[in-house]
Symmetry: C2
Subunit: 303 residues, 2 copies
DNA sequence: ATCCTTTTTTTGTCCAGGACAAAGACCATG
DNA sequence: CATGGTCTTTGTCCTGGACAAAAAAAGGAT
């Protein structure tokens, strides 16, 4: 006589794609090949994934991001998968990141995190704050994510607070009319914004005139904006998730479409050490190196 | 003897989906039903969309967003489509938005836009800045977008600068330990962040203790974060693009999963005027109304 | 051993063409 | 006018097959 409330209602294939980042095509082909997931069906034959299968898919996604192959892990139980994630507990120490801030993220202490970040900013100044606090923290968060110690909402919380602090500071430096004029953005498949903000903070602190278009700018629009806006440099940021191969192709294509007078700087994991394959593009290996790039540019272009 | 550089190289179906927002399935079914687009094929039979077809698809997408039906417009030429967009030139005036700021956006004048925004903030204070400058500007930008007067990079530029100013101001207000504690975010299909930031600015200025998770928080995570964090209110923001029907379903589901002691506030075009269908949820009709909601909550919960 | 090249396997994306339900347009009736 | 019912349009999902890019394994040379 109980009416079953649909609390953990099953998800459509579109919702699963959204929540796990695994495409519909891939979900169907996994079902065909490996026998998982095997969703239920609604009245009209559409797949309905129960919550526990979605949860397992999220675990699988993480392990694949760590380099595991689907065929090897997809048959394992959720418990076994969790164990595999924990085994990956990296031996290398969590960098030089401030562990108290990491704790705030883990415990959802947004207000305390914001306060700690602001204090660090005041103490270190914008440039050192970006290089010595945000960058290591970023790395530590990335590792904690891999290890499964933090989840979507913790990462959101972290990103929000860092953005608040960095953007506030960037605004306060508003340099106008200085050189070089740097246009910052990412390619359409890259949606991580923090790398971009860290570079903007670093360059603005050096007196460059930065303009960020945020993430995901289509290539033709980027070309137009760079030329019409009279920019000297276009800066692109790549996260570790960006396929190295595609980064190189995209950068070379951009190099062709932009006049040689506009420099291209690229930074992030995906392009690290690829100088040889990227003629005409300045690879920026770290935040500190972006300052070098700036100095070089000024030496070459400002009498 | 010329080597043809692939400047306007054709795009894969995945790239077209990314750039136009039209799904692969829809692209294929349009081709089948209406005879457009008809892409070329590569060596292995995969679709390759030339740049001009992609451009036309972007026009079509805009007109559909304005309420046109595919069958009626998909056969028209690019010129005819452009004319239709311009005909839609709304008669109603561009709200009370500052036209000089709008000009800065059109002309890619990022630095000037930032300066003007900061000046307005100083003059008006955070709350009036959000309600009287950002909100009308948002609307004006939305209309200009519909009319085809601005494009992707202009909107990116605008969003970036407003974020810089709003986030800086929000950070400066950092109220800790006050009540109510408000958790702000959007549902997984909503990615517009400005509405959220405007609410956060308004509430923070009233001394509420706000925490934003940014956009696209999965429902189970939202539930956990709200309960574990001891929040009094969960605030959701919806843009005009969010399907009204889905907004209602999602909100009702969230209402079921949250304890009655946690209030839900929802704002934005998609929920405007739906009070009747959303029992137990406070519809916030404007930024000013969010202050009302705050006052009501305090009257009811703080002795 | 280590490094580089070639073959084999794995894996994600794409294709065709059919089906269906939700949303929109249309129409008749209160 | 509004309101409810029918017809049309439209986007999403389905099956099952194919293929190329990436990864792994195997082979060979230094």
């Amino acid at each position: 006589m109980e009416i079953q409330p649909k609390l953990d209602s099953a998800s459509s294939i579109a919702a699963v794609e959204r929540d796990t980042g695994i495409s519909k095509d891939t979900l169907r082909v996994w079902e065909r090949r490996y026998g998982f997931p095997v969703p239920e069906r609604d009245a009209s034959g559409d797949r309905l994934y129960p919550a526990d299968q979605v949860e397992k898919l999220r675990l699988i996604r993480r392990l694949i991001d760590q380099g595991k192959r689907p065929a090897k892990i997809i048959g394992a139980s959720s418990e076994a998968l969790l164990a595999m994630i924990e085994v990956a507990n990296t031996p290398r120490q969590a960098a030089a990141a401030d562990t108290s801030m990491l704790q705030y993220v883990r415990l959802h202490r947004g207000a305390e995190l914001a306060a700690a970040l602001r204090q660090a900013l005041l103490k270190q100044g914008l440039q050192r704050f970006a290089a010595e606090t945000v960058a290591p923290l970023n790395e530590a968060i990335g590792e904690a994510w891999m290890r499964g110690e933090i989840d979507v909402p913790e990462e959101h919380l972290y990103t929000e607070q860092v953005q608040n602090v960095l953007r506030g500071a960037i605004g306060a430096h508003a340099g106008v009319g200085t050189r070089p004029r740097v246009l910052l953005t990412t390619f359409p498949d890259e949606e991580h914004v923090l790398g971009l903000l860290m570079v903007e903070a670093t360059l603005v602190a050096e007196g460059a005139c930065c303009l960020s278009l945020g993430t995901r700018t289509p290539l033709p629009d980027l070309r137009t904006a760079a030329i019409d806006g009279g920019f000297d440099v276009v800066g692109l940021s790549f996260s570790a998730a960006y396929p190295s191969r595609q980064a190189i192709d995209d950068l070379l294509q951009l190099r062709m479409t932009l006049p040689a007078t506009i420099a291209i700087w690229a930074g992030g994991e995906a392009v690290k050490g690829k100088e040889k394959r990227l003629p005409g593009i300045r690879i920026v290996s770290s935040l500190a190196d972006s300052v070098n790039a700036l100095t070089e540019w000024r030496a070459a272009h400002l009498a």
